[in-house]
């Protein structure tokens, strides 16, 4: 069978900005996967997938089709073909080609990404044998994926489909007619109605999403007629964005600055003679989640110059950046006692971000005393970290 992956445009940018439109996730699976499963269930064993938009991403997703018990051949074409094109040179298969722009069982002419398209998706959810196994119908019309937990004050009005590992803050109101994909994070007080929220999308506190599709920091709003990016990490974002300068370049810059500023070591030694404090204070922090996943280590050792003021005392942590244990921007390190004192799920998010030389809490002048404000800013940072916000934090910490 031939499957044709749509191009962006004409598919809205909100749906196609970070991956091909055929990989848009709805009801917990990319559209392309819904097609494979639906037609494999009907005896189709081989798919010819035509992708003109980011064919490598489609190739990476499909592999050899083994996951679905089928075989696939990906054809990278320059332009998306029409359904009426002659495909006899590709396949002798008599099955009608299909465009991967809706759920395969939907009988609709709605344009992908339109409000009618979304309403048709909601009217045609996957059947019991096709819905993802972890989706549990907690109440009539409310389906919730694995490891998603919500505070008691959450209001959910059916029909709603909420994916796995979704986090909702206090006082959220969700529904009716809402689909929230995996790992989305909605801050407290959010209201979402008649909308689709994409995977790993962060939505800031007290925001209203109504008659829209939101994918990371892109919004397609049917009532206003917009399809654009909102570049404000306090409002919308990708929960899983990598922080800035954490790769080889960031570590090289740290090495250069470490060498250029090495006279600070002499200053620290002289200052310690004056203050009577040790030259260097060696500390042990619990590993934050990203570092622990990468290395398996439970602790990170780092140091400070206790006799020096301000950021100068953190000079030894440039070495931690060089070693890849710290980043330029992250949360400040926590010792075991402090980590144990993090109580709520939100506070524990402090450790969901890597440690950094500079932090959001530094920007707000609340670092070092493990105050409620520091916990708030650290958890907020972990939830919203992204390249733009890291750049802002870094520049403001250095130049303020």
């Amino acid at each position: 069978m031939i499957l044709i992956c749509p191009e962006t445009p004409p598919t809205p940018q909100t749906l196609g900005h970070s991956h091909p439109a055929a990989l848009v996730s709805i009801f917990g699976r990319p559209l392309l996967e819904h097609f494979l499963m639906h037609y494999a269930d009907r005896g189709i064993t081989h798919f010819d997938v035509i992708a003109s938009d980011r064919p490598d991403a489609v190739r990476k997703f499909l592999g050899n089709g083994e996951k679905w018990g089928v075989t696939v051949t990906i054809h990278a074409w320059k332009e998306e073909p029409g359904l009426d094109k002659d495909f006899s040179n590709l396949t002798k298969d008599s099955e009608q080609p299909a465009r991967v722009d809706k759920l395969p069982w939907m009988n609709t002419n709605s344009t992908m990404g339109s409000e009618n398209w979304f309403k048709d998706c909601l009217k045609n959810p996957p059947t019991k044998n096709m819905i993802r196994p972890d989706y549990v119908e907690s109440k009539t019309g409310i389906f919730i994926g694995g490891h998603s937990h919500f505070p008691e004050q959450t209001t959910i009005i059916p029909p709603c489909y909420i994916g796995a590992q979704v986090k909702l803050g206090n006082g959220c109101s969700i529904g009716p007619n809402v689909i929230i994909e995996d790992e989305a994070f909605l801050e407290s007080g959010c209201e979402v109605r008649e909308s689709l929220i994409g995977p790993s999308t962060y939505i800031g506190p007290d925001l209203t999403i109504d008659r829209s599709i939101v994918m990371h920091d892109w919004v397609l709003d049917w009532s206003i007629g917009t399809d654009h990016q909102i570049s404000d990490p306090l409002l919308l974002g990708n929960k899983n964005s990598e922080p800035v300068a954490n790769g080889i370049l960031g570590r090289m810059i740290a090495l250069i600055i470490f060498i250029l500023l090495c006279p600070i070591v002499i200053i620290a030694a002289l200052a310690s003679l004056r203050t009577g404090k040790p030259v260097i204070d060696k500390r042990k922090a619990v590993s934050p989640v990203p570092y622990k996943k990468l290395t398996g280590r439970s602790n990170i050792n780092y140091s400070e110059f206790p006799s020096l003021p301000g950021y100068l005392r953190r000079y030894p942590q440039l070495w931690s950046i060089i070693k890849g244990e710290f980043k330029w921007v992250g949360n400040r390190p926590l010792n075991e006692k402090e980590a144990d004192m993090l109580e709520s799920e939100y506070e524990k998010m402090w450790l969901d971000a890597s440690y950094g030389l500079f932090s959001l809490a530094d920007l707000h002048g609340v670092t070092g005393n493990f105050s409620e404000e520091e916990k708030l800013h650290s958890s907020f940072y972990a939830a919203t970290q992204g390249k733009e916000s890291d750049k802002n934090i870094l520049l403001k910490c250095i130049f303020s």
Binding site: T208, V219, I224, H228, D232, L235
Partner: protein, 100 residues
């Protein structure tokens, strides 16, 4: 940016963006004009193509001053990006929105 006083209303026009980059200067410029005889404020948002939460925050601060004089803060002809932000943050219920 142009600030024009017409009777008891301060009109702001010509603004291309209201973000963290210019929010402070915008706020200072507007506050200097908010004398006791100014009751209302109209932001002509026809040309604003970039706005963020800091810009919204400054508008809220200015609106508080206007409200103390029992005046009205109007956003006139907002661009789609401004409308989107106002809708998402529910500030479309705080400011008066006018489209001509």
């Amino acid at each position: 940016m142009e600030l024009q006083r017409v009777n008891d209303t301060l009109n702001i026009s010509g603004l291309k963006q209201l973000t963290a980059a210019n929010a402070d200067s915008f706020q200072s410029a507007v506050k200097n004009q908010l004398t006791p005889d100014i009751k209302n404020l109209v932001l002509h948002a026809d040309d604003i193509d970039l706005m963020d939460s800091t810009g919204l925050g400054v508008m809220i601060i200015i609106h508080k001053t206007i409200s103390q004089h029992e005046g009205v803060t109007t956003i006139s002809n907002p661009t789609n990006i401004v409308l989107q932000l106002l809708k998402m943050t529910r500030l479309n219920q705080v400011f008066k929105i006018v489209t001509t």
